[in-house]
Symmetry: D2
Subunit: 182 residues, 4 copies
Amino acid sequence: MSIAVIYGGTRPDGNTEQLTEEAVKGLTVDRIHLNTYTIRAIIDGRHAEEGFPEMNDDYKEVIDRVLAADVLIFATPVYWYSMSGIMKNFVDRWSQMMRDGDYPDFKKTMAAKKAYVIAVGGDLPEIKGLPMIQQFQYIFDFMGIRFEGYILGKGNKPGDVLQDAEGMFAAERLRNKLAALN
Amino acid sequence: MSIAVIYGGTRPDGNTEQLTEEAVKGLTVDRIHLNTYTIRAIIDGRHAEEGFPEMNDDYKEVIDRVLAADVLIFATPVYWYSMSGIMKNFVDRWSQMMRDGDYPDFKKTMAAKKAYVIAVGGDLPEIKGLPMIQQFQYIFDFMGIRFEGYILGKGNKPGDVLQDAEGMFAAERLRNKLAALN
Amino acid sequence: MSIAVIYGGTRPDGNTEQLTEEAVKGLTVDRIHLNTYTIRAIIDGRHAEEGFPEMNDDYKEVIDRVLAADVLIFATPVYWYSMSGIMKNFVDRWSQMMRDGDYPDFKKTMAAKKAYVIAVGGDLPEIKGLPMIQQFQYIFDFMGIRFEGYILGKGNKPGDVLQDAEGMFAAERLRNKLAALN
Amino acid sequence: MSIAVIYGGTRPDGNTEQLTEEAVKGLTVDRIHLNTYTIRAIIDGRHAEEGFPEMNDDYKEVIDRVLAADVLIFATPVYWYSMSGIMKNFVDRWSQMMRDGDYPDFKKTMAAKKAYVIAVGGDLPEIKGLPMIQQFQYIFDFMGIRFEGYILGKGNKPGDVLQDAEGMFAAERLRNKLAALN
């Protein structure tokens, strides 16, 4: 099984990345850093006569890597109690992909995947991160993706999450599960 | 009291806009269409030595209009069970504003405002839109903004929301409240 | 279609009852006041050798009335951000019913029903009542019941809800829907 | 610091109890098994002329033990996506205690406490147990109690939770925290 990590963070070696790397240590993983790509916000063309506009950005390059993986790890810092804006723009664009003639099997291919969410926040993430987890569940349900689990780590300053014993333990446990699949 | 509507939609005359316009009909309102501005995703510089980078986009022009209003209406379609990516990027950047020397009173000024949320979704918004409402509440709580109410309308195809009697009634009721302030 | 209202309140003519009666005015409805029955808390016997104990209370009398209806309205005050304890005990006992040899079709019969929730609370019910709504959704999903809608009214002192224009409007709208079924 | 565990389960040695006992192993703890007491459902008398009725049950005996502790652990199985009915009845009655002349400092005394929640469920508790956690947060916020953390364990059949490595690890970590207070 191939694994892709979709990183939604915006600084190098942030807490979310550190926790996620703990979960994939030693595994073969495709790391997709969304912030290194140009991904434009969706322009809703579902009901437009001319359909969705051509976006001329890097989206298809990213989505091809995503589609190639069997297991997706959505790794995002908790910004303002939900996923980062760049990750949200990435997800919003799925609406366009579902109507893209070049990707007739987009939803079906996504539906065959398993997903995990790893997120780190500073303001009571284990409580205030819960609406975000529910949203990921709705998103995955809509697509038919199996939501296999999540980790809500705690951290603010760089390196904080390494002191979050529950988070680190959960990451280690996840690594064992992923290794068994890999 | 001055009112600003912050529009997060990405098509003209979408359902969210129709419902919101019902709520502000006849009132003096500053309409801020986020999709007409360039608002870059945040680059988290809270812990970077050099701080946040200069973004060279339209953010300050937008935020100045926001700061000038007493009442904010966040009007966003429900995309994938939460606010649109462009609205999320707009909110994410508040983290930068709170550390911007040119806006020393950003949080304090925001804390004096009242906020409403108007959102329209197609997939059971009155249930599946709830995590988004909770996130807005956390966001407003963090900033000290008073969350005065929300409307979750139903709609998918253009014009659908005009058939959503509860939504339209709530918009009319909100208009009366806003008119009393205005 | 026959309609049953399951009342979870504990005072006569409370706000929840007033709002609910607005929604069923003029309709033929079976009103089940849980507080007029003895319904004991479940004793979890799912894994006990001897199974569930005989409870010797009024539960089966209540459940027979519930099973006879096509549409169920769960009408509960919001006590401490969720349904009342007496309604919770009523729901908890479904676990026993699903293993009761006298009711082999319990789940199947319940799965054929449609459900509404009407609840009135005093502390920001439209926000803080949301987890309760999500729980009802999980409950109905588990049983296969169709969750047709809910009303979260506002009120504290007797009669308050009659001043809640949105709540009363939603009740009136629900009445029209129920009348069309009735 | 003295610790009380408030048990809401209804079978001996259930998963919730096993997980909770892991968290308090070796500590001096007052174990309150709600199912061994008679606790009647509240009869809402907030607005009744005669006030709340005398209940003639064991409530005050229970609440006296609760009030004597500095740290409260609410340990409940997840029944139908929320706390058990007997625990809900226990909480509902706080409304009466806040108006009981014999307990003029009820809310103030409760506000000085710290609380934890330990709950075990069988149907995706880490997702579907989240509304319950939000409700506990609202409950604690209302009372001024500090919500120090929670554990959502997984289990169905007796003993299942002992195989829930994350849950058991979290229990061990909690024990270390409690021991430092004790």
